[in-house]
């Protein structure tokens, strides 16, 4: 089924109008907040997971408190890695 030519041009104009609206300021500000929250949880989650792994391994090997300390820092490193990756993704999106 073919669309009439007139309808096609009208659709194009309407679509470009919507695009302009979407690029508006208020929409962007909200997504900035979402991005900021994304980075925060990314960092915290890795630290928490690292610490929990250290705690469990300490229980297994009876090496309290060394592994929990080591894995806390490894978790922090993983968190920074996560944040860098997420930030790179965000830059690619823009």
């Amino acid at each position: 089924m073919t669309m009439p030519e007139d309808f096609k041009t009208r659709l194009k104009i309407a679509k470009s109008k919507i695009k302009k609206k979407l690029n508006d300021d208020s929409e962007n500000r909200a997504s900035f907040m979402g991005n900021a929250f994304k980075l925060g949880t990314e960092l915290v989650a890795a630290v928490a997971v690292g610490t929990i792994i250290g705690f469990i391994l300490d229980g297994w090997f009876d090496t309290k408190p060394w592994l929990i300390i080591i894995f806390f820092f490894l978790g922090a490193a993983a968190g920074m890695l996560n944040v860098i990756r997420a930030a790179n993704r965000m830059q690619k999106e823009d």
Binding site: M1, M3, A30, S31, G34, F37, K38, T41, E42, V44, A45, A46, A48, V49, G50, I53, F71, L74, G75, A77, A78, G79, L81, N82, R89
Partner: protein, 244 residues
């Protein structure tokens, strides 16, 4: 008058107590609102796809918008290989979105403000993605833990860090959604409480705040559903297209 802002999160039993093998399987208000959101989605999509017109009506237009939105999101972030997973990601996005939106109605219950709900969804995604990765690539999937171009001395350390980073995915995915929803709803109730306690003279300021916060919360509800779905796509992309 409910003055405790955390009271809105209590789960209580509706109807008879059902216990199977020591596990409480009673129907709660959380289950009720999950059923409610699912039925709203089904009704909405049924009405949207009932009449297939070339120039769509309002509901059909909205349904098609959601479809296009998710389809575009998948093809942009995970490529054409992720097409078979469209139904899963679409249902996930719609479920989270409608649970968040139904939670915005007064007197309702926000299912996604409970960490157990979001954690189960995130763990399911995490396990599914891991299985998909192993099925598609076999043991070569483990190479995502070993980035290329790293000196041999640092390799064990980097591998451990990568594994922790991989394991933190379900945690960050679930905590983000849960924390956003719970914090927002608590804040709304706190400001609502201020309106009542300050009375007709001083209550106008917190009232205007809570109107603004309601708008913000609706935006957050949509945004978090979007973030949840897009991160699923990104994890799926890592599993489908190995490139490290």
């Amino acid at each position: 008058m409910a003055s405790n802002p955390m009271q809105q999160f209590t789960v209580y039993r509706i109807g008879p107590e059902i216990k199977i093998a020591g596990i409480d399987l009673s129907f709660t208000n959380a289950s009720l609102f999950m059923v409610l959101s699912t039925s709203i989605i089904l009704l909405f999509l049924f009405l949207g796809s009932k009449e297939k017109k070339i120039v769509p009506g309002k509901i059909q237009l909205m349904a098609e918008m959601f479809y296009n939105f998710v389809a575009k999101m998948i093809s942009e972030t995970a490529g054409s290989k992720a097409k078979p997973f469209f139904p899963f990601i679409f249902s996930l996005f719609m479920f989270v979105l409608f649970c968040n939106m139904v939670g915005m109605l007064p007197y309702s219950f926000t299912v996604t403000s409970h960490i157990i709900v979001t954690l189960i969804m995130a763990l399911f995604i995490f396990i599914a993605v891991t299985i998909i990765g192993f099925v598609k690539h076999g043991f070569k999937y483990l190479s995502i833990f070993v980035p290329s171009g790293v000196p041999a001395v640092l390799l064990p350390l980097i591998t451990i860090i990568e594994i922790i980073s991989y394991l933190s995915r379900p945690v960050s995915l679930s905590v983000r959604l849960f924390a956003n929803m719970m914090a927002g709803h608590t804040m709304l109730k706190v400001f609502g409480g201020f309106v009542v306690s300050l009375g007709i003279l001083g209550g106008w300021l917190p009232l205007s705040f809570s109107v603004a916060l309601t708008g913000l919360e609706i935006l957050v509800a949509f945004l978090q559903a979007y973030v949840f779905a897009i991160l699923t796509c990104i994890y799926l992309n890592d599993a489908l297209n190995l490139h490290h």
